[in-house]
């Protein structure tokens, strides 16, 4: 207890009201002087925003540099190992060859017509499949997540269906829907649906029970409960599944094209495959990846809008 007894013990009133530091007196805490303070804070605001923008800018630069470095390392080692014949470019291709192939496609078009047309065809299929699959997944996920009995009854069927190879389904769809866009979109749907469904389902079951209780007490009917509590709360789950699903929708569209198509990036890739053109295969994959990234960017933008209420991750943790 010796430490404590060394503390200066002044009389109560002596120390009170006279804090042992300069500029900030008691006055500032009260309601007067608000105008001058507002100006001061505005200045701080501007300063802070500028500093924050600068930090963000630098950070972005670093990220881009690292991405570039990664790309160079990856493609470089690939190119090198094929040039030195450590691996056979006949089987694994060569970045320079891929670039060349892309260039030909862009400048001279592909066997099936201009490259952009193939991209448009495949993206149409993917987008339709994605929208339908995601919508079905969300609706069924929420429905089954809310209705326990329905979930238990149907879950073995859904889980079993999920194990059915899409390649096989693709050929069934090609017969059922013909060679239209719908056959390919259907293949995309069966890939997207399950991923979205399982996440939406789990998202619904993870909703904080306190919040449900509160909403019900406040008078929310089932519809309100679903739209205002369940869906916003399950939104991170649904969005997480959407991140992966657009890529899967593209995969579905391409698998669909396997069973008959007149155009599309899938056809382009299969054509290349038939003619030992591994570079062409990779070029096609590259175009698919770029398209997926563009779509992903849109989904991320959507995500930022939908979950803007969340504590931002960049600033430190606030345990209050």
């Amino acid at each position: 207890m010796s430490v404590r007894s060394t503390l200066p013990r002044s009389d109560v009133s002596a120390q009170g009201g006279a804090p042992p530091f300069g500029s900030v007196g008691m006055q500032d805490g009260a309601t007067q002087g608000l105008a001058s303070r507002t100006a001061e804070i505005a200045a701080l605001d501007a300063d802070l925003s500028a500093r924050r923008a600068q930090v963000a800018q630098r950070r972005r630069l670093i990220i881009y540099a690292l991405r570039l470095a990664f790309t160079v390392l990856w493609l470089g080692s690939w190119e090198l190992s094929t040039r030195l014949n450590w691996v056979d470019p006949f089987f694994v291709g060569q970045p320079s060859g891929v670039v060349q192939r892309l260039w030909t496609w862009i400048t001279e078009g592909t066997a099936l017509g201009p490259l952009w047309l193939q991209a448009v065809v495949t993206m149409q299929e993917a987008v339709v499949g994605f929208l339908i699959g995601a919508a079905l997944g969300v609706v069924f996920g929420i429905l089954l997540g809310r209705i326990e009995v329905m979930a238990e009854v149907l879950s073995p069927f859904i889980k079993g269906a999920n194990a059915i190879p899409r390649v096989v389904l693709g050929s069934l769809f090609a017969v059922m829907f013909g060679l239209s866009l719908w056959g390919k979109a259907a293949t995309a749907v069966v890939l997207v649906f399950f991923v979205v469904f399982f996440n939406a389902f789990q998202g619904v079951r993870e909703v904080d029970r306190n919040l449900i209780a509160n909403a019900r007490i406040l008078g929310a009917d089932n519809r309100r409960l679903t739209t205002e509590i369940i869906i916003p709360s399950a939104m991170t789950w649904i969005l997480a599944s959407l991140h992966i699903s657009f890529g899967l929708a593209i995969v579905g569209a391409v698998v669909g094209e396997l069973f008959g198509a007149t155009a599309g990036l899938g056809q382009l890739i299969y054509n290349a495959g038939h003619t030992f053109d591994v570079n062409g295969v990779f070029a096609g994959m590259f175009v698919l990846a770029v398209l997926a990234l563009i779509a992903e960017g849109l989904i991320s933008a959507l995500e930022n809008r939908l979950v803007k209420w969340r504590p931002s991750r960049v600033s430190g943790e606030i345990p209050i």
Binding site: S171, A174, V175, G260, N271, T275, F276, D277
Partner: protein, 327 residues
Amino acid sequence: GGTANNASGASSSSSSMQPVDLKIMVGGLNKQIYLPNMLAKQLGYFDQEKINVTLVDEGSGQGTELEVVAGNVDAGSGAYSHPVELNALGKKIETICQFGIAPGEAEMVATSKSSSIKSAADLKGKNLGVTDIGSGTHTLTLALLGKAGYSGSEAHYVAVGAGNTFIAAIKNGTIDAGMTTEPTITRLLQSGDAKVLIDLRTPQSTRAALGGDYPFIGIFAKNDWVNSHKDVAQRLVNVYVKTLKWIKAHSAAEIADKMPADYLVPSKDLYVAALQNQLSIFGTDCRMPSAGPQTVLSIEQNYVSSFKGKNANLSETYTNQFANSAS
């Protein structure tokens, strides 16, 4: 579309023809055994017959005939064995133009094994590559073994797909020999990884190996469709007859020049060399070789387990009617 018109023949003048839309599905548009399809388009022969054609490419190598049966396409380009098999199941499609009289495949043997595998008889007990279990290459392999006097169960069949996966399987010794098509054959020959054991890329060698003509790729459509679209069918066969004639009259290199540049990868040389090797499978008149259907049927009946005990009415599986009246 064209309505039933028995009068239409080879002489039909282009001025009296109704333009018609037609969807043809091809089991691998850029494969050389399907070459007449794209070539006809490139040569403008469809346009001459006022056929506005859509060539639907099918990359999986199966399903063309199903799409035809389902009515999703008007006609399909595929192997003659399919009309035969479907006929046994009560689904009637018929070949109206037969491109070739040989399969255009070859049983390849890995170079390292070529000293011990010299004939079909040596395939017994070996690992044999086929595209898929149950696929056409599987049937042909069974037939080869059968002709050599062995039952199908006396070898191991490995599904290795086609193209790169086939080459890799030969290279790393997964299979001792295997059935595949061009340009894989030429590619293997050029790299020295494999040799041709039994060549089914010429009519002569095919007869030697299978005991008869083996009609392979052609154009088929539903019997109903053919009967109700005689005019269109005729014009279609006209296109292919002209194309086959053009093929006969030109060299492999000249043919290659007509094809889309994309088909000539990795090199035009490989494409030309491969084409040269199997150019002789293409006939000139779209006619079904006379004993061909029976050969196919008996191979199916003898060696394909799922076909055992079934029969097909061969007369329903092809018609030479259009080929005969084609110019």
